[in-house]
Symmetry: C2
Subunit: 489 residues, 2 copies
C-alpha cells in the first residue's frame, strides 16, 4: 500500500502528465542532458575561476541594469485607467440561524487554524485522516518541482541587511524588483489595474487586511467603525478583526443585515468559501470597501476585466502556491491610504521580510517568463497547469458528489476568460459542500467521522449543513477525498 | 570627492583592518595574490574570446556603476546640498517641555520611523546630512561581505511552500533547523537558558513583543491591563502598545511612577536607549514581565550569566545585523503563554516567513561555526569583530565628546564577560548623548542644524536635552559623526 502511495506521489510530481503536455517531457530531458555535456566541456578549458568570475560579473551587470531600470521607471508616469468593475451577480446562500456575533468571534478565534497532526502532511495510508480544513496550496509543489532550478534564488549573507529598501517610495520597505514583477504579472494577466496605483507589500494578505482596516478607520471617532462582509464570509475576517478588541474597528457580521452608513465592507471575489463572483452589497458615501482578490487568477476563474477598486489585496499563497513565504501585496488608489497602511506595517513588524520579497520576485518572474519568453513549453505555464488540474479535480468532485447522492455543490455560469481566450467556468479553490441528507445537521462532524477534516459553515456565518473543503491539497490527498465521498451514502 | 568616497567604501569592506586582526590581512592578501597569478596563467589558455567577454562584462559593470552613482547623486543633491535644506525635509518640530503621555503616544506613533531621504544610504559627500535616528545595523555588512559565500543560501522554488513547518511543535510555523541553531548559539554564548524553553519565532522582535502583550493580557478583564517601562524606555514601546487602541492592554508610561499591582513591565537590558543593565523595577505577584534582550550579546556588553526570565525576546537585527530579514525569537518558560503567542502570530500574519527562517538558520550556523570549528581565522568570529569595532567607536566618540566640551555620555562599570573571558565594559548600540551646554534645551534640533539626525529624549519619556545616536551605521557615516561632534563647541 505504501509503495502504491509512493508511486502516486512520484507521478504527481510530474506536471507533464496533466493534459496534453506529456510529449514535451522527453525533449526537455534531452536539452538538459546536452547542456550538462557542454558545460562539462567548458569546465576543463578556462578553469572554474573564470567561469565563476564571468557569472559573477554578468550577475552584477544584471543587478545594475535592474536597479537602473527601476530608477528610470520611477520618473515614468501615465494617466488613470478606466473604471471597469468586472463582477457578475453573486449567489446568496441561505443563512438559517447563525449564532450571535460574540459567539462567532470566540469560536472563530479559538478554532481558526486548528492545527492537527495531519496539517500539511501527506496521508501515510489509505485509512489516514485527511486534512482539508486549511487552504494549504500544496498542489502547486508539483509544478515547481518540475520547473527545477528556474525558480531558485541565492541570497548572500551581506545582501538586504538594512531595514530600508527604497526610501523614495511611499512603501519604503518594498523591494523594487518585487514591485516590478507584481506590475508585470498583473499587466500580463489583465486582472488588476496597475497604473497610478501604490503597491504596499505585506506579510501575507492577512497583515494587509489589518493594515487596510487601520487605514480606513477614522482616528477621531468616539466608537469603533463596523466591519462587515456578506455571508458566507471568510472565517478569518471576524477573528482577525476582533482578536485585539481594537477601539478603531470591530466586527459587525453579515453585510446583508447591516444597518448604518458608516462601515468597512470586505468583498472577497471569487468568494472564500463558496467561489461566487461578488460585488459590494452596501452602498453609502461614508462606507469604504476592501477587495480581497486572492483568488482572482486564471486557474480559479475566468478573468473578465482588470479589477479597479480602491484597495485590492493579493497573495502569493493562492496565486503561485507559496504560502510559507508569507507574502502579499495591496494595490492602492489613494496615496494617504497607502501611507497609513505602510505606517501600520511599520508599527506591526517594521517592514516585510526582504528574503521573501526577493524570492517572490523570482517566482513571479518565472511565471511571467513562462508566457512572455518565446518557445516556452506548455508545462512551464503556471496558470495553464493550474486550470487543467482544477478542471480535472472539479469534474471528479462533481462525479463523486453525484455518486453519493447526499451532497450538493454550487453551480457556476461560464464566461470567456480575457487572458486565455477560452470559455470556462469558475473552479474555486474551495468546494462549498452542503449535506442534503435528512438527519445530518452537522456536516463537518459527519465528514470527520469518515476521516475527512473540513471547516464548518458556522465559521462562515451560516448553518452547519455547509462545510468548506480545500481543493488545493496534494494529489494523493485529493484522490482519497474523492474515494471517500463516492463511497458515502 | 567621489573617488575618495569610493575608496572609503572599498576599504570599509575589509573587516581585517579592525583591531588586532591586521596581521591576518597580509596573509590573506598574499593568498589572493597567488590566486591572481594562477588565474593570470589561465588567461592565456582559455583563448581570446573569454578575455574579451570578461573585459566587456567588466567594462559594462563599470559603466553601470558610474551611471548609477550619477543617478544617486542627482537624486539626492537637491535636498542634501546644504545641511539646512536636508533638515528642512524632516518635519520634526521642537518642543521645549516634555508633553503628556497621550501626546507622546500620538507623537511617537506618527514619527517612530521618520523615514527620510538619507535613511539606509551612505553619505554622498562631506556635507551630507547623516541619519543616526534609526538603529539600522549596517556596520555588520562589512563582516558578511568579508565572509563571502559562507553565509549564502539557495532556496529552490518548490521548498517550504506549505503554511506548516512542524505540527508536532507548539510553534507549528517554526522551521526545525532555525530552532536548532538558536539553541546552539545561546548555548555557545551562554546568554540565555535554553533547556525546557519553548521557542516562538516572530516577524522581528516587534511582532513578538505584541504577541507577548496579547498572551499576558487577561482575556476576561473589564479594562485593559497597564503596560509600563522605566524611563528612559525604548521609543517604540508606547507606539506599538497603543496604535490599535486595544481593549486588552494600554500604555501607562514610566514604571517608576506606576501605582497598582496588575501590569506588564517591559525590561530592556542592556537598555535601549541608554545602555544600562536593567532588572524589573516593579514587584508584584499579579505583575508580569517581558525581557527584551535584543542587545544582550558580547559585542555590546559583558555576558554575566545565562538569562532566565519568563519571556525573553531576541532578534537577528541586533545580533548579526540582518534587520531586513525581519526575524526574531522568544524563549518562553510557560507552555500556555507560548501557545497564546503562537495564536497571536497565527491571527496577525499566519506564521513567519520560511525564507527568513532558512536564511537566519544559515547565518546563525556560520556564526557558531566561526567559534566551534577548528582552525577558524579570527576574522570569522562575528562577536570578536563586533566587540573590536564597538570598542574603537566608543573610544572615538568619547574623545570627540571631550573635545567638544558640550556633551556628556553615560559611564559603564567593567566586568568579566563569561563568553570572552575578558574584562570589558558595555559598548551600547546607541549613544545616549546629553547636551550640557547652557541655552541648548533641544539637543535633537541642535544636532539637526549641524546635519545629524538623531532621536530626541522626548520619545523615550525624558527631557529633550537627551538624544539617542545610532552607533551601528557604516564606517563613513560614523566617521562623519565623529568629525562633526569634535568640531562643535
Amino acid at each position: 500500500m505504501l509503495s502504491h502511495l509512493l508511486q502516486n506521489i512520484l507521478s504527481s510530481l510530474n506536471p507533464a502528465r496533466i493534459g496534453k503536455a506529456a510529449p514535451l517531457r522527453g525533449r526537455r530531458v534531452t536539452a538538459m542532458a546536452k547542456k550538462g555535456k557542454a558545460s562539462q566541456g567548458r569546465w576543463r578549458n578556462p578553469g572554474r575561476i573564470w567561469g565563476l568570475a564571468m557569472v559573477a560579473s554578468l550577475a552584477l551587470n544584471l543587478t545594475l541594469v535592474v536597479v537602473l531600470v527601476v530608477f528610470l521607471y520611477k520618473d515614468h508616469s501615465g494617466g488613470l485607467g478606466t473604471c471597469a468593475a468586472g463582477a457578475a451577480k453573486e449567489s446568496k446562500v441561505a443563512a438559517a440561524a447563525p449564532p450571535l456575533v460574540q459567539d462567532k468571534e470566540d469560536m472563530a478565534a479559538g478554532q481558526e487554524i486548528a492545527v492537527s497532526a495531519t496539517s500539511g502532511t501527506r496521508p501515510v495510508s489509505k485509512d489516514s485522516v485527511i486534512n482539508l480544513d486549511h487552504g494549504d496550496p500544496t498542489m502547486f509543489e508539483s509544478f515547481w518541482r518540475w520547473m527545477g532550478d528556474r525558480g531558485s534564488i541565492v541570497i548572500p549573507a551581506w545582501q538586504t541587511m538594512s531595514y530600508f529598501s527604497d526610501v523614495t517610495n511611499v512603501c519604503w520597505f518594498l523591494e523594487p524588483e518585487f514591485a516590478q514583477e507584481v506590475r508585470r504579472l498583473h499587466n500580463l494577466i489583465g486582472n488588476a489595474v496597475t497604473q497610478d496605483r501604490y503597491i504596499v507589500v505585506g506579510t501575507g494578505s492577512t497583515q494587509l487586511f489589518q493594515a487596510a482596516l487601520y487605514a480606513l478607520s477614522p482616528s477621531d471617532a468616539s466608537e469603533p467603525i463596523s466591519v462587515v462582509s456578506a455571508v458566507p464570509y471568510y472565517s478569518s475576517y471576524p477573528a482577525v478583526t476582533g482578536y485585539l478588541r481594537s477601539g478603531l474597528f470591530r466586527w459587525a457580521g453579515d453585510a446583508y443585515t447591516y444597518k448604518g452608513d458608516k462601515y468597512i465592507e470586505l468583498v472577497c471575489s471569487p468568494n472564500n468559501p463558496d467561489g461566487s463572483i461578488r460585488e459590494a452589497v452596501l452602498n453609502s458615501e461614508a462606507g469604504r470597501t476592501i477587495h480581497d482578490l486572492a483568488y482572482y487568477w486564471p486557474q480559479y476563474t475566468p478573468i473578465s476585466s482588470p479589477a479597479d477598486h480602491d484597495i485590492m489585496l493579493f497573495t502569493v499563497s493562492k496565486s503561485t502556491g507559496h504560502a510559507g513565504t508569507r507574502l502579499g501585496w495591496a494595490m492602492v488608489k489613494d496615496k494617504d491610504v497607502a501611507k497609513k497602511m505602510v505606517k501600520f506595517i511599520e508599527l506591526n513588524t517594521i517592514g516585510v521580510s526582504k528574503d521573501s520579497q526577493l524570492r517572490a520576485a523570482k517566482i513571479l518572474k518565472v511565471v511571467s517568463d513562462g508566457y512572455e519568453l518565446p518557445n516556452t513549453e506548455n508545462t512551464s505555464k503556471l496558470f495553464d497547469y493550474g486550470r487543467r488540474l482544477m478542471t480535472m479535480r472539479w469534474e471528479k468532485l462533481r462525479e463523486a458528489v453525484k455518486a453519493s447522492g447526499i451532497f450538493s455543490l454550487p453551480e457556476f455560469p461560464s464566461s470567456t476568460c480575457k487572458f486565455t481566450g477560452e470559455r470556462t467556468v469558475t473552479n474555486p479553490a474551495f468546494a462549498w459542500l452542503k449535506c442534503e441528507k435528512e438527519g445530518i445537521e452537522d456536516c463537518e462532524s459527519f465528514l470527520r467521522s469518515h476521516g475527512m477534516l473540513t471547516r464548518s459553515g458556522r465559521h462562515f456565518g451560516v448553518e452547519p449543513k455547509y462545510v468548506r473543503v480545500s481543493m488545493l491539497d496534494r494529489d494523493e490527498t485529493f484522490e482519497l477525498l474523492i474515494e471517500r465521498l463516492s463511497s458515502l451514502n
